[in-house]
């Protein structure tokens, strides 16, 4: 999963608590500088919901909020840990190359 993968960004946003579509778009814009279009956002929400990683909450409003499920939180943790490991190794290698030069 890429760090700009809409699914990962949506899950990272929902890690802070339940949000509806507009709030997710704003939050993703702030944390990753990525503007998710409505088609991309709901494509990601549909995929994540189907895989049981997020779930919709009841709402009287048209703007239905979503939250991370337990397996969604686990999947997000695994993905971010993996990305963190890769980032740490990559940055370490860059630093080593810079010191040799």
């Amino acid at each position: 999963m890429r760090s700009t993968d809409p699914g990962l960004l949506v899950m990272a946003s929902l890690a802070a608590g339940p949000k509806h579509g507009y709030a997710i778009t704003r939050d993703v814009g702030e944390i990753a500088g990525v503007k998710l279009g409505p088609g991309t956002l709901y494509g990601a929400l549909a995929r994540l919901e189907e895989r049981g990683l997020i779930e919709p909450l009841e709402s009287d409003d048209r703007r239905r909020p979503y939250r991370l499920t337990g397996s969604g939180a686990d999947a997000l943790r695994v993905q971010l840990t993996e990305q963190e490991r890769v980032a740490r190794i990559g940055l370490g290698r860059l630093a080593a190359t810079a010191s040799l030069a």
Binding site: H20, G37, P38, Y42, G43, A46, R63
Partner: protein, 293 residues
């Protein structure tokens, strides 16, 4: 504009996410980027629903796919008939067996295809009317009324054009051109309405695999006839180039802006592409039906 693009999403998707997306669109600035994002999303949603559809759903979608190909094929076939309607083509057909035979074969295959299409449509139409009466569904009744109304509009536009031309000794003029353009628009509109209505009816019908069996078999026949028309047109194309090169090079189209070779080549290409697409849809429909049975 953006909200209209939501209509491009699959029906099930719109039922589930339509309101939420509409609410989101009210807060996001409309623009080409949003429009493109929605178009892309709609396309992916259709692909996803096609992959995840049940075999019977796949069969239904494929049936409307064959129908869509056939409707477009009719335009190419009509264009071929129009290109080769002049007397010199009939004379050439009588002088050259291959040319005349290929033209005759194309016409016969087209007539058989139309008959098979009627055989495919009849049980579905009966089923749709029965369901509309049973459920008192106004929506289904309106959809059922679309194809006959579209056909009436088409006949009226062609009839109007023919009457005008015969009353004015087939002289080209501004009114004749306007009627021709109007008739072309009505023809395309009627064809598109028929396809959209039949697609919508198919989606709403409560169908068992058994009820869909005859239409699928008949549509396989329609597809085979489309292939036969394309083959006969290909033979005609080769025959006219070899047997009647002067006729092949003759001017064609309104005002003679095109030529016969180019036009038949274009018509043939469209026929081959649509026959291939229809064959793929027919195979998909047959497979879906077999899996559902």
């Amino acid at each position: 504009m953006s909200k209209r693009l939501l209509g491009l999403y699959p029906q099930a998707w719109r039922r589930r996410y339509g309101d939420e997306m509409a609410a989101l669109l009210e807060t996001s600035p409309p623009g080409p980027r949003t429009a493109f994002d929605l178009l892309r999303g709609a396309m992916l949603a259709h692909l996803r629903s096609a992959v995840r559809a049940t075999p019977l759903e796949r069969a239904r979608v494929s049936v409307s796919g064959v129908l869509g190909c056939f409707i477009c094929f009719c335009f190419a076939g009509s264009a071929f008939a129009k290109t080769t309607e002049a007397r010199q083509f009939t004379v050439a057909g009588r002088s050259h067996d291959l040319l005349g035979g290929a033209h005759y074969a194309a016409v016969v295959a087209a007539v058989v295809a139309a008959g098979m299409l009627a055989a495919a449509a009849a049980p579905l139409a009966v089923c749709a009317i029965a369901q509309a009466r049973r459920t008192h569904s106004r929506e289904l009744t309106r959809l059922i009324a679309v194809p006959p109304l579209a056909a009436l509009a088409w006949i009226a536009s062609l009839g109007g054009l023919a009457l005008w031309l015969s009353a004015h000794q087939h002289r080209a003029g501004a009114v004749a051109w306007a009627l021709l353009v109007l008739s072309a628009i009505v023809t395309v509109g009627a064809a598109a309405s028929c396809w959209f209505a039949s697609r919508a009816i198919l989606r709403r019908l409560t169908l068992t695999p058994r009820r869909l069996a005859l239409p699928v078999v008949a549509l396989c026949g329609v597809t085979a006839c489309m292939g036969a028309v394309a083959l006969a047109t290909a033979v005609y194309f080769v025959a006219i180039l070899t047997d009647a090169p002067a006729l092949a090079a003759s001017a064609d189209g309104p005002g003679g802006w095109s030529n016969t070779t180019l036009d038949i080549a274009l018509q043939l290409t469209v026929m081959i592409v649509l026959s291939g697409a229809a064959a793929l849809s027919a195979v998909r429909a047959a497979r879906g039906l077999r899996a559902a049975s």
